[in-house]
Symmetry: C2
């Protein structure tokens, strides 16, 4: 964990700090694993690597186990340490973001399952350029959201929230392109639909990264910015 | 709220009870609203009712606001009342299930948006029989999950978890049928794809109902049954 995290550094050597640090470390390593799962799932699809696709599906169990461990750790902190103010917000933010990380892991496993099927069928379908492009953007979003979480960096969090709008627009445009491919050549409908599911998963991963970033802003600023406008979020971030 | 809820009836007339009761009441009314949103979204689609479709999209704001209110109430309880044991589990379960309710609301709004587009295009596409059938099952699941939550009824919760398996199978089969429709008549690809998105949303609503039911089991039994087998969940439910 970054030593600059202002929440964790103010509890010097208390038992509370040890407990919170422990869960925070698990949370960050779950984040790293999930980020890797998404990268590998996209890689497996684009490079038709069936072994890697199987590996991603298998490792989803580890992600699920980490989700349970982290929630258990957070519940123990609530029961024994009665955190208040920013500490409590950190516990709540980790609990919410934990759910998002697990869902990102689920979407990676879904992409990997499709990758495996497409490997078995052979021959790569159209729509991979779109997948590569949106996939890269979404990977950056997860990375930045986790980095913002580790450093309580609200500016970085705001960047992720804004990037989600771009993903949504590019997703819409890619979906239209894929629809054209299907109409041009109906023999490939089934394979193109699989690529559509992948794009949908990537778009959802973007949403979850945004959710994690909103939790960073909640932790740091004490304000719930979910379901508010970009302008309102910007104001919250820039408030001293 | 049901007077038989065993968590809420053991805190007689304390301030804690009032706070918890207040959030619980909000949670249950959010549940009722979300249930209605799903019913109306499906109704708008199948009966090509554009006004109802717009109403569902508009009311999603109310769902979002309730999510924020409930989380705020739960955070205040954690900060001021330091709940322990089953009370703490109830707070955590409501926090997790609150996210699921909001996501169900989102899926209802997505269905309503598609319904509105299809109304504007006129002429109902194929695949509505599948939508009606899965839609009815999913509505029963939400209803039963909320009922189990209100009464802390683990048997009912188990029933919902088991129903989710059926939905997944029927969703797979309906998707294959829709794929055949597209190949038979590629002119309708775009409209059939919209029906596919609706089915996907319904399948996700089934997942969220299952999640809520798993939280009921966690509250009542103190055991996190997420990502475990049906057999393990059955054993937990039947343990005295």
């Amino acid at each position: 964990m970054s030593p600059s995290n202002p929440v964790l550094s103010h509890h010097i050597s208390s038992q509370f700090n040890e407990d919170l640090q422990d869960v925070h470390t698990k949370f960050m390593s779950m984040g790293g694993l999930v980020e890797q799962q998404v990268a590998n799932a996209i890689h497996a699809l684009l490079d038709t690597d069936a072994n890697l696709a199987m590996d991603v599906q298998f490792k989803d169990n580890t992600v699920n186990q980490l989700e349970r461990d982290i929630d258990e750790g957070l519940t123990l902190i609530l029961a024994r340490r009665h955190p208040a103010a920013i500490d409590l917000r950190m516990v709540i933010a980790m609990s919410k973001a934990n759910t998002d990380l697990e869902r990102i892991g689920d979407e990676a496993a879904k992409i990997a399952r499709i990758a495996q099927n497409l490997c078995e069928e052979g021959e790569s379908p159209r729509g991979y350029m779109e997948t590569r492009h949106i996939g890269n953007q979404v990977r950056v979003m997860i990375h930045d959201a986790l980095d913002a979480f580790a450093r309580l960096d609200v500016d970085q969090a705001l960047k992720v929230v804004m990037a989600d709008g771009d993903i949504d627009r590019e997703y819409q445009s890619a979906t239209r392109t894929l629809m054209t491919y299907m109409m041009e050549d109906p023999r490939h409908i089934s394979r193109v639909i699989n690529v559509m599911w992948v794009l949908r998963s990537l778009e959802r991963i973007g949403d979850h990264s945004r959710n994690i970033s909103e939790q960073v802003i909640y932790m740091a600023k004490g304000r719930d910015v979910r379901h508010t406008s970009i302008e309102e979020i910007e104001q919250t971030v820039h408030r001293k």
